[in-house]
Symmetry: C4
Subunit: 245 residues, 4 copies
């Protein structure tokens, strides 16, 4: 436990700074794709994006350095390496933003189902927005592309993540199709999370419905145990009295 | 508890009147979209719709006024405000109609799974109908629209809510696409509810199947407790007899 | 219990005869749609179909007659009436065929999950086959129809029930679209059943995995109870001995 | 138990050799479809594929021979016979490769949910790859086919298994459509597995969340039992003492 402490302390300390970096990265990425800036703005965006990349790379290096068993950590965090190294999946850095959800949780409370709902909706919204940006960047320069505006990209993302897939718009480039595949996997997980949350709620309500069919809980067992303890105390008194005679 | 009483009493009292207002609104909305009335009918519909809007706005104002902590209530009911203020999501007022389901519940009974099934089917039917009206109103004046009759709108709604999405018809306007996105989220929840209900049923049946693997219930614990109480009574008698000698 | 006995006896007695009638109806329906017979064959098919209809109508009438509370039975079996009265949903008579599944169950055993899997697969196969026949009959005479052969109808049914919905083929007539809607609802239930079966299996396996986290079962409670009974017997002996001295 | 031993021993012994044969078959199949080889390479591939077929046929024959009740085994392994006999479903031999997953499991551990996730992802990836090869082979020579390159086949597989189904590409041959149907069933199971894993996780977390609502576990029952045993020991001592006086 103490051996892992420096890594834990680092991860706790950079949680919020990295979320800020992710927000900056998201803004830079949005401006880059939506505005297609020239001149000074383009340079600012380029520098900002590079700085964000640097922050994530530094975080990766420090965490690898602090890990007690580096090979093990390296194998278990191959995705983190890929996010730093591969330009294509750079937007995945935005998963750092889930920490912003902790702000929302004050309203929702700490109940696990409430948290799953919040993560699902915020995660889905972020996924749709980022996938729209990424697919727009990948597609718009292709002559046979159907997705050429952000509105079309957003509409395509929503029909894809919900697995409706009208087919009025779809990516035609390899990059766009890789983004689409990731979005579809996200869509399946989204459907899964919603279904699972409803299922968990129904299972619990069905169990509560009928007292005679309720699962025995730790509370009931504790009640029983206190009864047995009282019994034992009485027996102890009896034993004491018997030996006194 | 007593502090919240006036708000609770108000909400209980206006439950049925608001359901009636929602039915009137639904009829007005249907006539408006399907008949595209002129002259007197158009004016009647306009007045009726305005009155319904007034009733909902009044209800919102009264509830905000009666709430013990108004800021908190305001934050937690932003959706209610949006339903009153934004014309686009006006049809969401129809969620008030779910109270009509209580009439259906007499046949279904109070079991939680039966209620989930009724809510899912009635909710899905209402959602399909209203989404068809809304998308028809949004699309039919667009020159590139494919959805121009109510039959097409209904067919599109059904293929969308089930996430089949043939793509023979799809909305092309921004308003239509926002309605589509809401319908898709409804479709995912619909699939989720059906799956969850089946899952809950199977889990329960599997548990019932094998007595030796049945989860211990409160009933079993109660049986145990009465045994221990009998034991304690016997011991009490013994103690009394011992102290008597 | 005794009041409902005649109805129960009738339903039990006609179970297999009605399944045979359903098979005859299925064959007649298949020949009618696939062969589009003329002359004598057409007449034989027409007579057979009429006889099947008569058998189902008779069964409905007898059951209504035998029901202890006829109004109640009438309300609860509106779907049965619709199957007899409405030509469009005639194929639903084939749900009688599920009884044939009992033959398959010898291989599967009586476990609830095995039965759900068998019902799901046999039901899905039957649904796909009947929906293909029905949509082919509804569509093929329409000049704008894409579904004109049984192969196309079958392919369309499969893409629809799995909610994939490529959109290369889709119904264009009202009858075809009603069949499609029923098939989609079937598809959602199919997906739901498969998911629910897997979920139930995982939940059970997770519970079995870790003994200390296993839910207490009736068996454990029975063990406890026999311990308490032994304790009580010993105490009884002690009491007897004490009163003997 | 001893009667089935030779069959069990054989199956255990050929597990890894058959996985190697499956890998060779996968490579041969990939080269055959992707390279469309001529001359010597084509002959090597043909011989390799025939050898693989021979190995699977031999395995089937030996297992049938070793089975204690051959008819029963024959009925329960009709799918195995079909895999050996029907060229169309030859790729199903690759299910043998799931044994390679045991290598991956060292990293994942033995927890049932971790294993379901690994099986789902590896199985889905293998299914997508093999379905892409099979559909490409079936479609590319058809003049009306849309799927003519491996990239298109892969894109089609992914949109199909996730049930998105844009409809920009779809099989037109009968063979291709049978492959598509199998892939869709795989897609539904994939969605089901992911949903079920999430559901199981949420159900467990919800149960852990609130101690007073936790299901009683075997551990709690064991605690109770040791209390009762202590009680019984004390009572035994008391009895001994009473009889001593």
């Amino acid at each position: 436990m103490t051996a892992q402490a420096p890594l834990d302390r680092w991860e706790h300390r950079v949680e919020w700074p990295l979320a800020v970096v992710a927000v900056v990265f998201l803004i830079g990425y949005s401006v880059d794709v939506l505005e297609q800036p020239h001149g000074l703005t383009a340079q600012v965006v380029r520098v900002l994006t590079a700085l964000c990349w640097g922050a994530f790379a530094l975080d990766y290096a420090v965490r690898l350095w602090l890990a007690p068993d580096r090979w093990r950590w390296f194998y278990r965090h191959l995705l983190d390496l890929a996010i730093v190294a591969l330009p294509l999946i750079r937007p995945l850095r935005l998963v750092r933003l889930v920490i912003l959800i902790t702000v929302l949780q004050k309203a929702v409370g700490n109940a696990i189902r409430g948290r799953v709902v919040v993560y699902t909706f915020v995660g889905a919204a972020l996924l749709v927005y980022v996938a729209s940006l990424a697919v727009l960047q990948a597609e718009r320069d292709d002559p046979s592309a159907g997705i050429t505006t952000f509105g079309q990209a957003l509409w395509w993302s929503i029909t894809t993540i919900t697995t409706v897939g009208y087919g009025d718009e779809y990516p035609v480039t390899t990059t766009g199709r890789i983004i689409a595949a990731l979005l579809m996997i996200g869509g399946i997980s989204l459907v899964g999370s919603i279904t699972a949350t409803i299922a968990s709620w129904i299972v619990q309500r069905v169990a509560e419905e009928d007292t005679t069919a309720q699962a025995a809980t730790v509370e009931h067992i504790e009640d029983l145990r206190s009864e047995i303890r009282a019994l034992r105390a009485e027996l102890g008194q009896l034993t004491a009295r018997t030996s006194a005679t």
